[in-house]
Amino acid sequence: MIQISNLTLAYGDKLVLDRFSLTLPDTGVTVLSGPSGCGKTTLMRCIAGLERPQNGTVSGIAPSETAFLFQEDRLFPWRTVEQHLTDVLPKSRRGEADRWLALAGLEAEKTALPAALSGGMKRRLALVRALALGGKLYLLDEPFTGVDGDRIKALMAALKELGAPVVLSSHEGLVRSLADQVINLDGPPLRRLPGP
């Protein structure tokens, strides 16, 4: 179990997390659902060790064991689609790049630079790069922005087969319906709402 206990974090005067606690399941896909700006991204960044909370702890997972998808695509303008995957794969697993490209539907764009991709393609590339990186916990911030319904279904199925828990934030009704667990949130400061 990944246990988040009493996390407190403020940006200046703005309190985003106020003694926030949550237990995340060990398996399956968990969707964090809530309005924009409620603190989902901050929570995920704290779990990944990208933010230092003023108080509280995250136990059951180390930051170095997470694979994080940022809210922004953060692609390298000078690297090709394929290179984005080989950059995160160890040498012994470079052959897997084609499999991830197929999952993202980017086989034809293998040698293209990000500037030549559509918004949805860029998002898919950023997503499969995070998946290829691998980890004991996948933290995916808005992974399906600009991705069409059929592709979301295929990607959600792939997420369930990763063999590690996936926590993602999304506003999409389709994503919520396909998830193993939905956690409804509100804020700031972030708080859990009752019910699915």
Binding site: A48, F70, E72, R74, Q83
Partner: protein, 260 residues
């Protein structure tokens, strides 16, 4: 249509140098008209006179040795300036203490008259080393300033991603810093190249190393051989442009190679 476009391209390429050659020719003609005796040869020779001086000089095997020696001196100074400037820029961005230590010294180097440096370095080293040292000293602040700015402008989000994705320091440098720094390095090299040649040749003029383009320029001045002075200056300009083109291509190719 295509033929008319290529004609336009040729005209746009050839017109500016043709204009300035024409202006030079006219200036030389006016000097000849108004100054008696050898005024024209001394003050402003015709372009054709300079060209014939260049051809005459180029027929002497010593000319090529002189040009090559100066080229190697400036290139050595340039390489040292780029290497040291890059290393100091990296240290400056890595530690605020390094910045406090280096920034004032580099600013002093930039503000010090090149003639002072030439005479000081002449006191400290042999005359043959002065041009390379001076070129390096002039290049260093330009490279340091450009690369410091470049490192500080590197995309924070990509650097955060490199940390989150557990990239090694070497991989972060290769994938994030070097591609981000390319325009800054190109700009630094372009600016520094002219400075390296100007200061290096000035050092040669004052220190008279043998062989050296600056030494030949000095001799041409003393012998009132203005056409030779122009011809050697033309050699400096050509070598500077060739070296600049070579270096910019090298940086471009290295980046493409690193991206592959």
């Amino acid at each position: 249509m295509a033929r008319s476009n290529s004609l336009k391209t040729y005209v746009s390429i050839l017109l500016p140098p043709a204009f300035w050659l024409g202006a030079w020719q006219l200036g030389a003609f006016l000097v000849e008209l108004h100054v008696e005796g050898r005024g024209n040869e001394l003050l402003l020779p015709y372009p054709a006179t300079v060209l014939s001086a260049l051809v005459r000089l180029a027929q002497d095997p010593a000319f090529w040795g002189t040009a090559l020696t100066s080229l190697l001196r400036i290139a050595a100074g340039m390489a040292a300036g780029v290497a040291l400037g890059s290393a100091l820029a990296a240290l400056t961005c890595a530690s605020s203490w390094c910045e406090r230590l280096f920034a004032p010294v580099i600013r002093i180097v930039r503000a010090t008259p090149v003639a002072s440096f030439i005479l000081l370095v002449l006191l400290w080293t042999g005359r043959n080393q002065v041009p390379a040292v001076i070129s390096g000293l002039m290049v260093l602040p330009v490279v340091w300033e450009n690369l410091t700015q470049g490192i500080r402008s590197t995309d924070r989000q990509l650097l955060e991603l490199s940390r989150a994705y557990r990239f090694s320091r070497g991989k972060t440098v290769r994938l994030v810093y070097l591609p981000s720094l390319k325009p800054y390095l190109l700009s630094a090299v372009t600016t520094a190249m002219g400075l390296a040649w100007k200061s290096g040749v000035a050092a040669e003029v004052l220190c008279l190393p043998r062989p050296g383009i600056g030494t030949e320029i000095n001799h041409a001045k003393q012998a009132f051989e203005t056409a030779d002075l122009f011809a050697w200056t033309a050699v400096v300009i050509c070598l500077s442009l060739l070296m600049e083109r070579f270096l910019t291509r090298l940086i471009q190719r290295r980046r493409e190679g690193a991206a592959a």
